[in-house]
Subunit: 195 residues, 2 copies
Amino acid sequence: MSAGRNTLDDVVRAAARLFAQRGYHGTSMRDLGRELGLMGSSLYSHVGSKQDLLVEVVRRGAAFFGEVVERAMETEGDAIDRLRALVAGHVDVVVDHHDEVRTYLYEAWALDDEHRRRVVEARDRYEQAFRSVIKEGIAEGSIRPDTDPKLAGIFLLSILNALERWYREDGPVDRSRLVEEILRFSLDGIAADRL
Amino acid sequence: MSAGRNTLDDVVRAAARLFAQRGYHGTSMRDLGRELGLMGSSLYSHVGSKQDLLVEVVRRGAAFFGEVVERAMETEGDAIDRLRALVAGHVDVVVDHHDEVRTYLYEAWALDDEHRRRVVEARDRYEQAFRSVIKEGIAEGSIRPDTDPKLAGIFLLSILNALERWYREDGPVDRSRLVEEILRFSLDGIAADRL
DNA sequence: CCTACCGATCGGTAGG
DNA sequence: CCTACCGATCGGTAGG
């Protein structure tokens, strides 16, 4: 839509958009060319293959989440503060980089074995961060000692990853309220206090 | 793998398996034929088109969840009992009909407009069931009155829908414990009691 | 970034 | 359920 030639970054962003919308196998190089106003074959002056594009989009998605963990782990305070930083950071990434996140979450299976393996590793590390913060919380007494850190981590991550499917910032819930609602649900649950 | 000719049901089940594994656009009719031990073109004596297969797999997935709501709503007792029935029923469907569920959740976007519209409606009705049980719980005093039924319903459903991605029944957590862990997380949260 | 093209594969049909 | 095939589209290349 803008004037002049497309940069590699334009191509990768458009690929993220289409991969997120119709999936990797549902997107052809000619579709992507149309999106950028050029012939499908012209894309090969920017990129070596369609698979390379998927690799790069997924790499960007993974990198955003990697930064979330880094920043959250540096957060001063107790485990709940770090948990809040993880949740807030995750929400920011999902909202600000929706297409890369969606491709990272749902199209990584279309990668070759080696790249897919790396994605699985990155996800494990990410899950591990949630798990260790929960363990920290148990140790310091802010989280219930009978909590299963693995299950609790998966449940919280399930809520966070699903945001991409329904949350839109122009809706009735703003970002900071969303973060508090997720923390409230996960920390306190929805049951009335049982006396 | 079994002797004799394939039935329509065999074809639909194999389609569910491949659609779940590689996606609708990642599965060719020849792939599906290979899975069943016949030529891709022979599938057209069982089915009118590839799209028809997707429609049928998705329809089955939707039907399983429809039955969960029906049974749960007939459950005697209070709102928490009905919520437990929804969670247990959902877990059963995900475990027992994994491929149909996965296709229903992640490949329905590849349907034509009319069928996709119906899927969106079915999902809305399903979400609505969770929401009304939560409202019931608020009215009867078992669920905290400041709970947002819409958000809480989405959060719980996020946990349930994500099960398909990680839960395997041959792992360390059995079905009934999984149900109790999900209910515990959602109802009580993981925070230590704040005095 | 385009034109002109390649072999492979796609969903699907005709006829048996 | 198979053989033989159809036109369309796929990812990608050569040469400019």
